[in-house]
Subunit: 134 residues, 4 copies
DNA sequence: GTGGTCTAGACCACG
DNA sequence: GTGGTCTAGACCACT
């Protein structure tokens, strides 16, 4: 299973699902057009309430990451075009700034922080090409 | 005022205060040993309840960002030594990964993400030396 | 009820709750994975405000004694890993030293103090196996 | 100076003074009959408010650790007989139990806790004979 | 129903 | 005047 949920984590399960799906799409574990498990199937697999999965799917649809075709199911978008790019890019920058400050208080310089980012990207690339042909 | 709060933001006020103080310390707007506004003063300035400020101060003290001297007030730590460095460094990396995925879905490549990080750091450095001698 | 609180004691109620829970966990009255009373239930039982219980639970969670599963409740940690072990071990030693001095002024020699410690441990062991199989 | 105060510590200064004096007496740094600094002298030396020192002296007198002879000064008691021994012995036991539980949650067994107590006693004895003849 | 956050207002310990 | 604690009651997010 490419999705791994931790109910003990502090961030809400629906967010973990959203991130999990986004991650899988970004890494090519889920390909454009591919069908996702239904809400109830996924809820059973993950042992969570189906309302939780439904909420995650709704937000993913709003983000144009997935598409619902009524009567057919839910699919990974063929042309993912997130809607409010500007707003979310700003969020992204705010987050980076927050974490930069956090890093500072952890004793990391800006350069060390940058190195950490590079390392994360490297690890990410390293594990990316898992399934582009499956 | 170096701190400003948005009571309608989604993240809690006490967290905004914590981040604001950490940011001010990291940028030298608040110098080691400097006295902070008292709990009730700051509460009045920010128009929030004093318990909210108290909670923020307590968490900052646990993080060794600030120190309380009973009956005298609250001061920026002289030697800030955060305690759970390992754990929090891991959180930091997890966060970066999450935002890397988010960036991907915003149409940014890893390189573009890295550029954004560099830009944020640059802007940060640019505004850092605001008050080291004031 | 394995927890009882004295609202007129000098140490704060939330600390009494923390100690009570830690004690119950240490003695096996609360087993790993077991569900605790909800914040509001316990508040009612103890006749204290729910915020007071919430604060105690939050500190216990930071200490990894308990875990919160959102929407489900609060549970005794399966793998308790306190974080600041070194710092807190030092506090422990300082405390012992303080009490050793106190014992001296109560007319106890170091040996008698040690005997008292042994006795406390003995009484503790004696009551420990209360419910490992319940 | 045999007394060392840390205003940044979490426990109140007056308690630190009490403990400092008790410790000095227990170790023979202050001998029975010896004169203590006056309240105002000590307050100046320690750079604390004289009310704080006064409070500490009052409690030390109640504990029969020191004696005030009006017009002459304050002296270490010749026959130290603390008053409410039973009550305070119970406090002592409660404290030990609290710290035993704390040790448990720090991953220490009862035996390791006992070893720690022995070590503290040993270190104490090691530094005790500093000034019995001065 | 679960915990998390916030307000308003009160009291206490400390310096 | 400083922070620490507590209550009563409210609203929100999550499952």
């Amino acid at each position: 299973m490419w999705l791994d949920i931790n109910p003990r984590a502090s961030d809400p399960i629906y967010l973990q699902i959203i991130r999990g799906v986004k991650s899988a799409v970004a890494r090519g574990l889920l390909l454009p057009g591919e069908k996702l498990s239904s809400v109830r199937e996924l809820a059973t697999e993950l042992a969570v309430n189906h309302n939780t999965v439904a909420r995650a799917y709704q937000e993913l649809e709003r983000d144009k990451v997935i598409e619902v075709i009524v009567g057919r199911g839910t699919f990974v978008s063929l042309n993912p075009k997130p809607s409010n790019i500007e707003e979310r890019t700003q969020e992204l920058k705010d987050s980076i700034k927050t974490w930069l400050i956090e890093a500072h208080h952890l004793g990391l310089s800006a350069d060390e922080f940058l190195d950490m980012v590079k390392r994360v990207i490297f690890e990410w690339n390293d594990s990316e090409e898992v399934r582009h042909d499956n």
